[in-house]
Each structure stands twice: as structure tokens, then as C-alpha cells.
Amino acid sequence: MTSVPTSHVLLLAGTLFAIGLVGLLVRRNVVFMLVSIEVMLNAAGLAFVAAGSHWGQADGQVMFIFVLAMAAAEVSVGLALVLRLHQRFRTVDADAARELGGEGVASPAYGAVAADGGDE
């Protein structure tokens, strides 16, 4: 059996990671963002496996199983959050939940100081 060169596998992992990242950045649907994260996680897992095979050690596969478990946990928490998000905003658009933006909460206090300084 001809062995696939490690570099090819790593290239594939990198490509998958990039696809996942781009998906995460461009999608606004939270479900698709979760899927993209899964893709990235698996890309990382693939890189671990490739590295393990390259060094002939089991650590890579151990790490992959670890990643799998973590992904499962992450998805369950993530989906729960998605449900809450949907209940609250009636949408799965991530941008709808921009409450952490600077303008919302902190501004009045700073604005007051700025006004004081402004008419100085």
C-alpha cells in the first residue's frame, strides 16, 4: 500500500480548517456556524492523526478521540445556546444578539464625561 505523504494529509487538514473558518466568518446562521466549527475541529483531529502516524506514536489518535468527545460536548452546549437564542430573538441569526456592543450599555456614562469636557 502506497503511503500517503504526511504533507498531503496536513494540506487537506489545513484546507478543511480554512473552509471551516470561512464558513464561520461568513455565515450568520448559528447552526451553520456550529457546523463550521465541527469542520474545523475535525481538521485539527485529522492533523493530529497524521502527525501520530508520521511519528509512529499513538498520541495522535488519543488526541483525536479527545477532540471527538470535546466536539460532542461542545455541540450539545452549542445547540442548547442556539435554542435559547431562537427563543429570545425568534431567529438564528447571530448578529441579532449584538448586546455586547459598546454603544449599548457603557456609553451614557462616558458620554456624560465627554460632554463635560466638551464645553470646557
Partner: protein
């Protein structure tokens, strides 16, 4: 008797304190009694001290009364002490005597003023400060009186404070004299540094012993003192405040801006004459300042339309005479003229005040006329005052004192100062005759009330008597003051008399032809504006100062602090903007950060471990 000297300043100060604290609550009669009585008593004390002095002069020709030690720091220990000598006595006599008459006059003049008590409080404070000034044994105490009279001048010029113009005139007077005072203060610093004391006698002794004649230090100190004296005595180039000071009530003009305070500079130079003698160039400067001011004032007086402004410029001009005399070293002649000038100029101001009372404060001489019948006492006393000012020979005090100055100018200064003085005498006779003719002769153009009562007339008559009789004591005065007497040359007296009579004659001719009422030429306007000094100072000093203060009111250095604050605020905005709440932005930032960190790791990775890595890679 001499031990009562402390009462001289203390009495008016007590009057001031009483009026300032209780003035509003006192009945008017009581306020009058306190205000006039304190100065009257001070006059009585001055007379008593003078009599005692004449009866038995103290040893050494001076009497010093130590009151208390002001402070004592690092060997510098000015006393609050009074120094009584003939010069101080003459000044005290003038200040309290003329002051008392003017106070009496003011009780009538200020009769209807709501600020009656405030007026007399300020006047008493003035008299007290002026007496402190002339009696001070120490230059620092003299400076106290010097500033004190400046403050009173300010308060009284701006007495009718509701009018902003009066406030402006008052501020101008204070600030311009303060400029001179600054020079005076620097002179004090120099004296303390070099001589270690400010006690006047000691300063003069040490200066004469330590400073060579014509030395730099003596010249510097004398020049600075001259600047101080010029500020207070309204000499060029600091004369600009005096004409505006006429905004004050007329008794104030008579007391402060004619008889006493403005002559403080003359007193200072006379007092420090030993020091000035050490600095011949400064003596020349004193003479030049005097001569220049004399002419400048006389020409300006010629072109004024306001009665009081004529007298103000006349005062400037007459003090120029005194400076001229000081400049040639004839300080006793200067003080003699100071005294006679106090009499006749106070008289003229009080007469002008009587005119203003009668005409409801119409001071424009071109709108007045023919008041001689309506105001006979005022007219006759004013004529006597005018004659004294013009130096009408033999019968007036002004003739003797001015003649003394002219004679000294010739014998000590040569023909040029003498000629300037003579020209001044001609101009003086000219402008004062012009004013008398325009105000009292011809047809009456303005309604006038009859003269007020005795409290106006008595001071006028008393001062008129002094304006005539004050000159006859000349010989005795010189002996009293300087220990010797020099008579004038008869020829010079004749020349001076002819010149002043010529001035009167020319004025009369011009009046007959109606020349005085002709419309203004450019030269007249120039003279009336006081030779344009005001405009120049306004452009050079006032406007830039005000402009800078206003333009920079928000303080350019505060912008530095604002810049730091702005930096913090800008940084805050920048970071706030990065937190937009979009998960995707955060992720992008995360990814970007990771890439940057990796890139840094790759680029800056040290070569040796990288080599070791390759080595392990090769081995399997």
C-alpha cells in the same frame, strides 16, 4: 510737643476707621464732625509742632519718633517711625492746612451725595496716608504711604462708581502710577542689597560714603526713583492719567490731584536730594523731564475746553517747574513752589468747583461766560488764584516761587532751562487768562445759580489770602528749609514779570478778537489730546494686553492637558468600536491574531532549535 507727631497720621486714620465702620449709621452732622474734625485737629497738631519747632528746634535739625519695629528679618529691620524735619513740617502744614480747607468746602460741595460718609472716609484715609508718606523715617513706610495715597486716589476718582467712565479713569490712574511704583520698588531692592537699610537718613549717609559720585549704582537707584516720582507726579511720559483723573469730585481734584499727592514725587526727590546729587546724569534727566513736561502741559492746557482739564494740564506743567528746579539742584525752590502751588491750584480747583455747582456741572469754557457778576466771590478769588498761577508780579505767591525757580535755572542750569521756563511762564499766563476771560467775562451764555454759603466761600477766601501772602515768606522759608536764603536778581524778576504780563495781554487781545472761540485746527486737537500719548499707549500696551488675556482666556497650556485626555478618550473609542457584539468579528480577530502570532513564531524562530528539529526528523 514734638512727641505728638504720631497724632498727625493717627487722627485722620482714626477718622477713616470710624467713618468706614459706622459711616452709614452715623447722622450726617456726626459724619461731618468726624471727617472734617480729624483733619482739623491734625492741622492744629501740625501748627503746634511747627510753633514748637520754631521756638526751639531740636538738636540735629530733626526729630525721630519710633513707634514700633515693623519687622526684623536677616538684619533688615525697618521701623515704623516718624521723621520730623523742616521739609516734613512744610509738607504736613500744606497737607493738613489745605486739606482742612478742602474738607470744609467738601461738606457743602458733597452735600447731597448718598455716599457722603464714604467720601469723607476716603478723604481721611488719604490725608492719613499722605502724612505717613511725608513723615516716614523709612523708605518702606514711605512706600506704604505712597501706595496708600494711590489707593485713595483710585477710590476717589471712581467715587461716582456707577459710571463706567469714572471707573476707567480711576483704574488708569492707579495702573499708570503703579508702573512708576514698580521702578520705585526695584530701587528699594537695590538700596537694601547695597546699603542694607531703608532708613532714609542712614541711606543718604551710607550712599554718600560708599557710592562715588557718578557711579553706576547711584545712577541706577536715582533713575529708578525718578521713574517712581514721575509716575506719581504725572511727569512725562507717565503724565497721561492726571487729566482723566478729573472724573472725580472737584474737592478730590483740588486736594489729591493738585495740592498734595501729585507733588509726592517732588517731595521724594527733595528728600533724597543727597542721593540724586551723586548721580549728575539723572539730575540732568530730572531737569529734562521737568522742562519737557512743563511745555507739554502748558500747550495742552491752552487747547482744553473743560475747565478742570485746563487746571489738570496746568498742574502737570507746574510740577514740571518743580522738577526743573530739582534737576538744577534747587530743591528748596522746588518745595517753595510746591507750597505756593498747593495754595493757588487748590484755590483754582475749588473756584472751578463753585462754577460747576452754579452751572450744574457745565465745565466747557466755551459754553460759559460772564459769570463774574453772578458769582462775585468765586470770580475774585479765581482771579487771584489765576494771577498767582500766571505769576503776576509782586502781589502773588506764584510770582515769587516761579521767579525763584527761573533764577536758579539760570544760575545753575544755564540759559536753556531758563528760556524753557520763561516760555512756560508766558504760556501759563496765556492759558489761565484765556480761561478766566472765557468763563467770567463777556456775555453770560449759561444759566447759573447764585453762590452757595460760607462753607464754600471761606475756604476760597482763605486760600486766596494764602495765594497772595504765601510768597512774602520766601526768605524765611528758605532759611527754615535749607538754612540759607538767596534772593533773585532784580533784572530777572523784571523779565519774568514782563513775560507773564505779556501773556495776560496777548490772551486779552485774542479774546477781544474772538480767537479763542474759533473752531479747532489740527494742532489744537493734537494738544487737546495731550500730544497723542493716550493713543500711542493704547496701541502699544493696552490693546495687546487685553487682546492676549482675552484670546488666551482658556489657557493654551490647558490644551496640553486636554490633549492627554483626548488621547485617552480616543483610545477608548477605538477599543469600544472593536467590541461590536458580532461573534463573527470576534472570530475574525481571533483568527487574525493566531495568524499573526504564528507568523511571529515562524519569522523570529531561533535558527539553532530549528536545526535540532531537522536533525531529529532525519534520524527515523
Amino acid at each position: 510737643m514734638l512727641r505728638l507727631a504720631w497724632l498727625l497720621p493717627a487722627l485722620p486714620f482714626a477718622g477713616f476707621v470710624a467713618l468706614a465702620l459706622l459711616g452709614r449709621r452715623l447722622p450726617r452732622a456726626t459724619a461731618t464732625a468726624v471727617g472734617v474734625g480729624s483733619v482739623g485737629l491734625a492741622f492744629a497738631v501740625a501748627v503746634a509742632i511747627g510753633a514748637a519747632w520754631l521756638a526751639a528746634p531740636p538738636a540735629g535739625g530733626a526729630y525721630v519718633q519710633h513707634l514700633w519695629r515693623w519687622f526684623d528679618v536677616a538684619g533688615f529691620a525697618p521701623d515704623v517711625a516718624l521723621f520730623v524735619d523742616p521739609l516734613a513740617l512744610v509738607m504736613c502744614g500744606v497737607v493738613t492746612g489745605v486739606g482742612f480747607l478742602i474738607h470744609v468746602y467738601a461738606t457743602e460741595y458733597m452735600r447731597d451725595e448718598p455716599g457722603y460718609a464714604r467720601f469723607f472716609a476716603s478723604m481721611n484715609l488719604f490725608v492719613g496716608s499722605m502724612l505717613t508718606l511725608v513723615l516716614a523715617d523709612d523708605l518702606l513706610l514711605l512706600y506704604l504711604g505712597w501706595e496708600g495715597v494711590g489707593l485713595c486716589s483710585y477710590l476717589l476718582i471712581g467715587f461716582w462708581y456707577r459710571d463706567a467712565a469714572n471707573g476707567r479713569a480711576a483704574r488708569k490712574a492707579f495702573v499708570v502710577t503703579r508702573v512708576g511704583d514698580t521702578a520705585f520698588a526695584i530701587a528699594l531692592f537695590l538700596i537694601v542689597r547695597e546699603l542694607g537699610t531703608l532708613e532714609i537718613d542712614e541711606v543718604l549717609v551710607r550712599a554718600a560714603a560708599q557710592w562715588p559720585a557718578g557711579g553706576t549704582l547711584a545712577i541706577l537707584v536715582a533713575a529708578l526713583l525718578l521713574a517712581g516720582a514721575a509716575g506719581k507726579s504725572a511727569q512725562a511720559p507717565l503724565q497721561v492719567w492726571l487729566p482723566d483723573a478729573m472724573a472725580g469730585p472737584t474737592p478730590v481734584s483740588a486736594l489729591i490731584h493738585a495740592a498734595t499727592m501729585v507733588t509726592a514725587g517732588v517731595y521724594l526727590i527733595a528728600r533724597m536730594n543727597v542721593l540724586f546729587a551723586l548721580a549728575p546724569p539723572v539730575m540732568t534727566a530730572v531737569m529734562i523731564v521737568g522742562a519737557a513736561t512743563l511745555l507739554l502741559g502748558a500747550f495742552s492746557a491752552l487747547a482744553q475746553r473743560d475747565l478742570k482739564r485746563v487746571l489738570a494740564y496746568s498742574t502737570i506743567s507746574q510740577i514740571g517747574y518743580m522738577f526743573l528746579a530739582l534737576g538744577v539742584g534747587a530743591w528748596s525752590a522746588a518745595v517753595f513752589h510746591l507750597m505756593t502751588h498747593a495754595f493757588f491750584k487748590a484755590l483754582l480747583f475749588l473756584g472751578a468747583g463753585a462754577v460747576l455747582l452754579a452751572t450744574h456741572h457745565e465745565g466747557d469754557v466755551l459754553k460759559l461766560g460772564g459769570l463774574r457778576r453772578r458769582l462775585p466771590v468765586t470770580f475774585w478769588t479765581f482771579v487771584i488764584g489765576g494771577a498767582a498761577l500766571a505769576g503776576v508780579p509782586l502781589v502773588t505767591a506764584g510770582f515769587f516761587s516761579k521767579d525763584a525757580i527761573l533764577w536758579e535755572a539760570w544760575s545753575r542750569g544755564g540759559p536753556v532751562p531758563w528760556a524753557v521756563g520763561l516760555l512756560g511762564a508766558f504760556l501759563t499766563a496765556l492759558y489761565v487768562s484765556r480761561v478766566i476771560l472765557l468763563t467770567f467775562f463777556g456775555e453770560q451764555k449759561h444759566a447759573a445759580e447764585p453762590e452757595r454759603g460760607l462753607r464754600i466761600q471761606l475756604p476760597l477766601v482763605a486760600l486766596a489770602a494764602l495765594s497772595i501772602g504765601g510768597g512774602w515768606v520766601h526768605g524765611g522759608f528758605d532759611r527754615f528749609l535749607a538754612g540759607d536764603a538767596h534772593g533773585g536778581e532784580a533784572l530777572f524778576e523784571v523779565v519774568a514779570a514782563v513775560i507773564s504780563l505779556a501773556g495776560v495781554g496777548v490772551a486779552w487781545l485774542a479774546w477781544r478778537r474772538g480767537l479763542w472761540a474759533r473752531p479747532d485746527g489740527a494742532l489744537q486737537r493734537f494738544w487737546r489730546s495731550g500730544w497723542g500719548f493716550d493713543a500711542v499707549y493704547h496701541t502699544l500696551f493696552v490693546r495687546p494686553y487685553v487682546w492676549f488675556a482675552r484670546a488666551n482666556a482658556r489657557d493654551v497650556f490647558d490644551r496640553g492637558a486636554d490633549a492627554i485626555a483626548g488621547l485617552a478618550r480616543g483610545g477608548n473609542r477605538l477599543l469600544v468600536a472593536s467590541q461590536d457584539g458580532r461573534v463573527r468579528t470576534y472570530v475574525a480577530g481571533l483568527a487574525l491574531g493566531a495568524v499573526v502570532l504564528l507568523a511571529i513564531g515562524v519569522i523570529f524562530a531561533r535558527p539553532e532549535p530549528a536545526g535540532a528539529e531537522t536533525a531529529t526528523e532525519v534520524r527515523p
